[in-house]
Symmetry: C2
Subunit: 631 residues, 2 copies
């Protein structure tokens, strides 16, 4: 059925009104708060990223403030602000104010704010939007300013970024004397929509729309600015502006191309603008792009962008496992975008992708301790790839930190007469329905168990619809309200079970999803997974890690009929589901002195243990694989 009303029918419940108190996410949020966020601050400090705002760099000094350093500090501020909002911390509050004061001190009289282009290459300000990340850094600073304002009510960073954006709006646009440029690395577009909501200043939305509208028009701005710099546009290293989704205007785009993180940030902004302006073409483009990425170019983990060369997309169904780039930031971006798409129609397809990325390819990016990170998230390893404490290009650690700190906002949505549960996470969400405050309280061991008990609290009987997501992976579920069984078949709308009724204080909804161990296959056109099988249970994709096996995990074959069983294991990695079963391991003792031979390799029965993919490389280093040959 076509969607006739374009604007979003739903709005997320802000993370401030959501508590997370479960066995899965709460420990990760805690590690994020207690380890990741402090570590990131320390790294920003130690590497000179924060001190760069002192603007005391002089020629010859090391380190040289890098063009995207500011964004790392901004994302740390954003993460720390979200954390502060749900877990007050006076020390962190003070620290944030100190860093913000330093940033404010670096703002130029005209509003400009960028450490590199203030002290290192001031003459190059706004001369190379294609490569130099100025507007990207601005975007992250805007998001930081908005987040800090939301968390604390303080305008100390918000005012700085407004001043900066006023400056940017004076530079870029269609008026005479303005540059008709747009960012090489998208990010500011979605940030400006946030700033619009924080300030109610329409000009910020207009600037976002200008960047979106201008993108990909011919003659290409990047060509023109290259010539202005005295460079041959043809010498551009990436050869094509599809690298940053600027090869054609965005409304004409239907194929996901180029750098994956840039794509996700762009599409998120497009979805936001479609909502704000009712722009049918923008939303149609988003839907076509969504089909391309989610039906042809996404790993089973929700990782996207297989290639290291462009940090991005290649051909449809090209999903190599060992060499998967699948940048953590790109999976984070996929969550951002799908969350935005989800609010239009509450279509479970978007929630399914959001959940897939969250439970797999996003949280694989940080160790369980919150102290080590993956930039790339391959789906197989020969044993040479490991988590690291930091990266020179440090976009991923603070990106996952800001997502985890604000995870609450992804759990619920509402509109005027419906409360929606997207994610099953123990804790509560505060709604306002029919002028009444309503609290939903989930009790669940999800994703280890499929039973969810939802308690409804309110002051008086209230009529509204409760929508519970029936995950795409779930084939059977049982629903009861106050102990009365309710058939769900006719209540399913776009992947959500809907119960419209008058609710009373203390009502209890029980939703039990069957959550069997599943063998999952990739579309046959995914060459690299052809003939292979993956193990999934609920939203969690499992992998075999060498540390659990005496036999080489790379030589395991999964017979098509071997039973696999799940158990939650308290002493595994702080409490973790694991799947065990029988498989075959190939014999190697009869391969002396030969690399190729006729004569099928023999095998013998072995026991296997699969752990969640996101939890790999948290113990002894070694090989890992998700996709297994099936016999």
């Amino acid at each position: 059925m076509p969607n006739t009303k374009l604007s979003r029918k739903y709005r997320p419940i802000t993370f401030i009104n959501v508590s997370i108190e479960d066995i899965f996410w709460e420990p990760r949020q805690r590690a994020n708060r207690e380890h990741t966020i402090p570590i990131e601050y320390q790294q920003c400090r130690d590497t000179g990223r924060i001190d760069a705002f002192r603007l005391n760099w002089k020629t010859g000094m090391k380190p040289v403030p890098h063009i995207f350093w500011d964004s790392d500090v901004a994302k740390w501020i954003e993460a720390a602000s979200y954390s502060l909002a749900t877990h007050p911390d006076p020390q962190l509050n003070t620290l944030l104010d100190e860093v913000i004061a330093l940033i404010a001190s670096a703002q130029q009289p005209d509003g400009y704010l960028n450490t590199h282009f203030t002290v290192v290459e001031p003459e190059k300000r706004w001369t190379n939007l294609r490569d130099q990340h100025e507007l990207y850094c601005a975007g992250h600073m805007i998001e930081a300013g908005v987040a800090h304002f939301q968390a604390t009510g303080k305008r100390n960073l918000l005012d700085v970024v407004c001043h900066y954006v006023d400056h940017i709006a004076s530079i870029f646009g269609t008026q005479p004397g303005q540059k008709r440029g747009y960012p090489g690395h998208e990010e500011i577009e979605l940030a400006l929509v946030k700033l619009y909501h924080a300030t109610d200043e329409r000009c910020y939305l207009d600037l976002s729309q200008y960047f979106i509208d201008e993108r990909g028009k011919q003659p290409y701005y990047y060509d023109l600015e290259s010539v202005t710099r005295g460079e041959d546009p043809k010498a551009y290293w990436a050869k094509t502006y599809s690298y940053m989704q600027a090869q054609i205007p965005v409304r004409q785009q239907s194929e996901v191309v180029g750098h994956a993180v840039r794509a996700m940030y762009l599409y998120s902004a497009m979805a936001d603008l479609a909502n704000e302006t009712g722009d049918n073409d923008l939303l149609d483009a988003c839907r076509a792009l969504w089909r391309d990425v989610c039906l042809r170019k996404m790993y089973i983990t929700g990782g996207i962008g297989p290639s290291r060369l462009n940090e991005g997309f290649t051909n449809p169904y090209d999903l190599p496992n060992e060499t998967a780039y699948a940048e953590t930031c790109a999976a984070v971006g996929l969550v951002f975008w799908n969350h935005r798409m989800l609010q239009f129609d509450c279509d479970g397809r978007y929630a399914d992708i959001m959940e897939r990325a969250l439970y797999n390819g996003v949280i694989s990016g940080v160790s369980l301790s919150g102290e080590l990170f993956f930039y790339e998230n391959p789906l197989a390893s020969l044993g040479h790839y490991h988590r690291e404490p930091w990266f020179d290009c440090a976009c991923c650690p603070p990106n996952i930190a800001r997502l985890l700190a604000s995870l609450g906002q992804y759990v619920y949505s509402q509109n005027d007469d419906e409360a929606v549960v997207h994610l099953y996470i123990q804790g509560q969400g505060k709604f306002r329905l029919g002028e009444q405050p309503v609290v939903l309280r989930q009790e669940t061991q999800y994703p280890w168990d499929g039973e969810v008990n939802i308690h409804l609290d309110m002051e008086q009987p209230t009529s509204f619809g409760l929508k519970l997501r029936l995950p795409g992976w779930c084939k059977n579920a049982n629903l009861s309200v106050n102990g009365t069984y309710i058939p769900i078949e006719k209540r399913i709308e776009r992947g959500y079970v809907c119960i419209h009724q008058v609710w009373n204080p203390g009502d209890m909804v029980q939703f039990i999803m069957d959550i069997p161990v599943e063998r999952v296959y990739a579309h046959p056109e995914v060459n690299q997974d052809f003939g292979l099988v993956a193990i999934q249970r609920g939203p969690i994709v499992y992998c075999l890690e060498q540390v659990d096996h005496d036999i080489p995990v790379s030589q395991i074959i999964l017979p098509v009929d071997s039973p696999l069983s799940f158990e939650f294991t308290k002493d595994l990695l702080g409490g973790m589901g694991r799947i065990t079963g029988e498989a075959l391991v190939t014999k190697t003792d009869d391969w002396k002195d030969t690399l190729y031979r006729p004569g099928k390799p023999g095998s013998h029965v072995c026991q296997i243990t699969a752990i969640p993919y996101f939890a790999w490389d948290n113990r002894s280093p070694g090989p890992m694989r998700i996709w297994l040959p099936e016999r």
Copy 2:
């Protein structure tokens, strides 16, 4: 049994005394002669590689003579000379003399000969052996001079290279005032052994030995010359001198590392020197290195060097298919080295590798027409990889040209009382045994058929041993002499069937090898081939190419029991064996709107056609794969 006599027990029959008149190689030699060699000359001409020897380049002119251009011309001379020796061609003879005269005119009074470092960067002569290919170019020019001398008896290029080598010998060595350098790209070492044989000048062998002995000693020469150039040795891009096999002295090397072509040229020279000097340690190193590459790091095609990053080796059993680099030159080098190792003991293991590379990963490097080339030889393609007319770095086309033009030398060996047949190729080989000229004439349709009839011609009865290679892939063979069956079991020595007797003029030996279609498996530690099967028949590895199929070749599964049958197909690609059979193709029509799902993909029976791997990408472009999932 340890080999007590170190020097080679066998010597190859020179290609001048071998005719190739078969259905497999003769057309390829003809294409090489009629297309490849003329094309390469024209490319060398058109790109400025030949004109560079005029030394009239001035600053600012384009193109700039490149540091390895000279080697492309040299390899063309070598290929053209070999061709001339077996197929006289007065025009080519004259052309060679013209080019040689031009090269001679570029030689400096002191003997130095290198276009780039004479006109472009004369001040940098011999200042960067690590990166700059001067000794590599010299090596190829030496090989060209020797080949031209062997082919024509003319010394016009030989004298030039002797003069150049005398200069090089004055620059490099252990004497006071000499540079203790050695090549960053090995090549000159094996060339100097050839020059020694052509001239009988021991000093050339000594210089080769010096380069071999000096390699990898500490302090590293490359460190010292970096410092002399004012560069930090640690800034070396490849980080380690294992890139050019100079991390430790060569006699201590047992792991194949770094750039694959460099490795093969080095090991070839090591084998040559071991033979010349009886150096046990050098031969032992060769044998250890051989085990490492041939039992752990070689593709089923004989391709080597999986990684594009170092154009070379990675970890044991790391053999990715789609991204296989497997440079044509590296497979050519593998042939060079194994041919040299083979002459020590006539051990069929070396001939097996030589044959595997020749019939697969070497000749895949040039189209059947001789007009288009592969630099990289992947074992699978999604359809985006194709042959090209030339490369900026053009080492591969002339490398395969010189190999094909001199192919005859790989067919036979002899010692004083044995004649050996390594390769089954219709045509004749001229031996001298017991002071008598002996001609072996093979009649065979090999590799399409396993029957070989060998006619022996000589003037009078002569006693000698005839050794016929029993290929490693062959499980059963029948031998008869003049129609009398001879059991072979007790006559097999290191992979050769040996018949020592008095031979009479007109004797006929019939050797019939069973040559079934085989399913071949990779060692289970080869992660990328795990659970997969390849089709091989005789020495030929087969592949599925899209052009022969209506169904996607990437979605084919080979049932373990499906019959496969071979037929020689006259109208396929100029006459080609092909293998047909039944397989399963996965259904995709029930995959609408999903990329991952539980529920094993269905399949239906389909017909498949496999063609020799070397012949792929000679028709309509499309996907290709060698390794297939087996069910």
